[in-house]
């Protein structure tokens, strides 16, 4: 699939989002729940700001020494019987995995949820190598059956309701029970258990690798990453190059920040750290372990003003507080990474050309920056993106036209004065009770969602002039 999803037109994607009433409702209620849980979990500690500062300090040090820590990690994985491959591109990573699939003559592969494997389009590559790949995270499995794409990085099927999920199960798997989440979940458990028991390879992402000992850690609730790493004889773990901590002690801090910021849990049900292959006499765990460390555009961010974007621990706290995400939903971003972090990261990983609208999908309210558990200055990055886009003449046409128009118009005092004066009259046909509910032209997108106040009876300039003279209304 790759990083890009959905319709290539940003406007079309936004409209699809805005018009999907169920999605909007579920996103806004989910945001509410995520936020109150996170607030409770962080307040409970009493010193959340200290935790954030520590998180930031750890991430900064780690990224500044990323070559050293990746070397240490890879040495330790090899010491414990694992194979390590460094992939500069998505193609290299996919080709390596395809090669393992072919060598093992694998027919079925179980996979636990992983953003980086979505990013590189691994499933398609595996299918091309002649194997079946089964997503085992409940949300991802639903999307896979439905041929859909994720809309949130923690709960990927957030945009679907129970009836839609029931329909999918009926159509694709002959499900014949109710639409209650419990029964749907139980059905998934039974269906996927068969896949786990018969899989040749388990594929996982990686929340954090531990450099000092070569462990890879999965933070989950469902237990699918544990099954995918306990039962098949071959395990492949794919990680973005930045997902590493120096020692187990930093793992503690970052896992604690992640689970609290993501879902308000003190810890998730399962934090599992796997090191290398199974040892002599062990039954569970892989006899062959591959760690694939992926660059795919990340190294270009190192050493730039955007380096802190690589500090991201994929908790989605910024997504859960974003007012724009609330209104347009995850798919509108056109990237598997939605929300503020998606708007920062996607143009960096995949270039501005296809994503130049994303930095504008923000009100710059800075709620994201405040929510980030490792203090990434997200809204400042968005502003910088906009500057770069404008400086390079890549601004979206509407913005360009508006900016050009504004320059011409505002540098001609007479034109400015006239249009300000006549705005009220010009917009009168659309005005009712001092508000515009169905505006023309550029106002249309705005007034479809909310009302726009009618221009005042008096312009600012005339009010100011009168005030200087000592009169005028307030």
């Amino acid at each position: 699939m790759g990083i890009r999803i959905g319709n290539p037109s940003f406007d079309k994607r936004v409209h699809e989002g805005i018009e999907n009433e169920f999605m909007i409702e579920s996103v806004s209620s989910a945001q509410g729940r995520f936020r109150s849980r996170k607030a409770a979990a962080s307040e409970e500690l009493g010193n959340w700001e200290d935790w954030r500062a520590l998180g930031e300090e750890i991430r900064t040090h780690t990224l500044e020494n990323i070559d050293f820590y990746l070397q240490q990690l890879s040495d330790n994985v090899v010491k414990r019987g694992g194979h390590v491959f460094f992939a500069e591109t998505a193609e290299e990573a996919n080709a390596y995995v395809q090669n393992v699939v072919k060598k093992k003559n694998a027919k079925k592969i179980v996979k636990s949820k992983s953003m980086v494997t979505e990013e590189i389009g691994l499933n398609k590559a595996i299918e091309e190598a002649g194997a079946e790949v089964v997503e085992t995270d409940l949300g991802e499995w639903i999307l896979q059956l439905d041929g859909d794409v994720p809309s949130h990085i923690v709960t990927p099927a957030l945009h679907l309701n129970r009836d839609q999920i029931k329909e999918t199960f009926m159509e694709k798997r002959g499900y014949d029970k109710s639409n209650t989440p419990e029964e749907l979940g139980l059905f998934a458990r039974q269906e996927l258990r068969k896949d786990f028991l018969s899989a040749d390879i388990g594929i996982t992402g990686c929340n954090f690798a531990v450099a000092e000992s070569g462990a890879v850690t999965f933070v989950t609730n469902e237990g699918n990453a544990r099954l995918a790493t306990a039962l098949p004889d071959t395990q492949i773990t794919v990680m973005g190059l930045e997902r590493i901590v120096p020692t187990w002690e930093e793992l503690d801090v970052l896992v604690s920040l992640l689970t609290r910021a993501a879902v308000g849990q003190k810890l998730t049900s399962y934090i599992t750290s796997i090191t290398g292959t199974r040892l002599a006499g062990e039954i569970d765990g892989p006899e062959e372990f591959h760690l694939v460390i992926v660059d795919n555009g990340r190294s270009k961010i190192l050493g730039t003003e955007f380096q802190s974007a690589l500090h991201c621990i994929r908790c989605a706290a910024c997504i859960n507080v974003c007012p724009v995400y609330r209104h347009i939903g995850g798919h509108a971003y056109g990237s598997i990474y939605p929300g503020p972090i998606g708007a920062v990261l996607t143009p960096l990983l995949d270039g501005y050309e296809n994503h130049k609208e994303l930095p504008y999908a923000s009100t710059l309210c800075a709620a994201c920056t405040e929510a980030c558990p490792v203090k990434i200055p997200l809204h400042e990055h968005l502003i910088r993106h906009r500057e770069i886009i404008v400086e390079n003449g890549m601004a979206p046409t509407a913005e360009k036209a508006a900016m050009n128009g504004f320059v011409k118009w505002s540098t001609h005092p007479a034109a400015y004065k006239m249009s300000a004066k006549f705005a009220r009259t010009a917009l009168k046909p659309w005005t009712k009770d001092e508000t515009i509910t169905n505006g023309p032209g550029p106002l249309k997108n705005w007034t479809e969602q909310r009302d726009f106040p009618a221009p005042g009876r008096q312009t600012f300039r005339s009010w100011f002039k009168e005030r200087e003279k000592g009169g005028g209304s307030k």
């Binding site: 989910a30 729940r33 010193n47 200290d50 935790w51 500062a53 520590l54 300090e57 750890i58 040090h61 990323i66 070559d67 050293f68 990746l70 414990r80 390590v84 491959f85 460094f86 500069e88 409940l138 949300g139 639903i142 990927p156 309701n161 129970r162 989440p181 458990r189 786990f196 028991l197 469902e222 237990g223 699918n224 544990r226 099954l227 790493t229 306990a230 039962l231 187990w248 930093e250 503690d252 604690s256 003190k266 810890l267 049900s269 399962y270 934090i271 750290s273 796997i274 090191t275 292959t277 040892l279 006499g281 062990e282 039954i283 569970d284 765990g285 460390i293 660059d295 190294s299 270009k300």
Partner: protein, 237 residues
């Protein structure tokens, strides 16, 4: 196995982008300026930590029980019956003897309960049996009061799937294993590793039964792992 050219090419590029030469040694983890993790439940007594654990068990949908040594058999038997346990797989733990579990298991067998210990000699048969089992029984090595987490160092006598494939997970928690939070557990692992002791091939931090909120953000307890969990805290002798 690793192709060193492949690694060098990749890591040299990272160093180049960072605008400096490659760092292959001498990077020392700094002393962090803040350490809030050590303040959580600082100075709590062991009994106060047991209370914290009990409270957290309510949050994570886990049944909490506490017993002294003498009553362990009664409490464990009642637990197994309560979960309708007819087929049971248990870790082949050196503490089975010390805690009297060997004789408890023997008495269950007389009552037609099929209890088996993890047996490395029968290979994948262990997994087949665990998949059928109603209950898996393990010991916690380090117990995190804050999050209600038991820590397992899985090895050849204590398979990963004992706590994963059965419908119910029952954990025996020696009271002395309880610490405030993950911080203390991670320091132990870090120090053991620094002293040259290889870390377990699988360290499992488990907090209650498996769950998911993937359908309309509704909590489903019991997804791919166990559907129910019971913790039994045993006061030390």
């Amino acid at each position: 196995m690793m192709d060193l050219d492949n690694r060098n090419h990749f890591l040299n590029n990272l160093a180049r982008n960072l605008g400096r030469s490659r760092r292959t040694e001498g990077v020392v983890r700094p002393k962090w300026s803040l350490n809030p993790q050590w303040d959580v439940y600082k100075d709590y007594t062991q009994d106060e930590l047991v209370d914290v654990l009990e409270e957290q068990c309510k949050v994570i949908h886990t049944t909490f029980k506490r017993t002294d040594f003498a009553n362990l058999e009664a409490v464990l038997t009642e637990t197994v019956q309560g979960h309708d346990g007819k087929i049971i797989i248990a870790a082949n733990d050196p503490r089975n003897d010390e805690y009297g579990l060997d004789s408890i298991y023997e008495s269950w067998r007389e009552d037609a309960v099929d209890v088996r210990l993890w047996n490395k000699k029968i290979g994948k048969e262990n997994q087949v049996f665990a998949e059928k089992a109603d209950i898996g029984i393990t010991f916690s090595e380090i117990t995190l009061a804050e999050s209600g987490t038991v820590t397992l160092f899985n090895d050849r006598n204590n398979g990963r799937t004992i706590s994963l494939l059965p419908r119910v997970h029952v954990v025996i928690i020696p009271k002395s294993t309880i610490v405030p939070r993950m911080t203390q557990a991670m320091r132990k692992i870090h120090e053991a590793n620094a002293q040259g002791n290889d870390v377990s091939s699988c360290v499992s931090f488990i907090s209650g039964p498996s769950n998911s909120a993937d359908i309309e953000m509704n909590l489903i307890v019991g997804v791919h792992g166990p559907v129910e969990a019971t913790y039994i805290v045993v006061d030390d002798k």
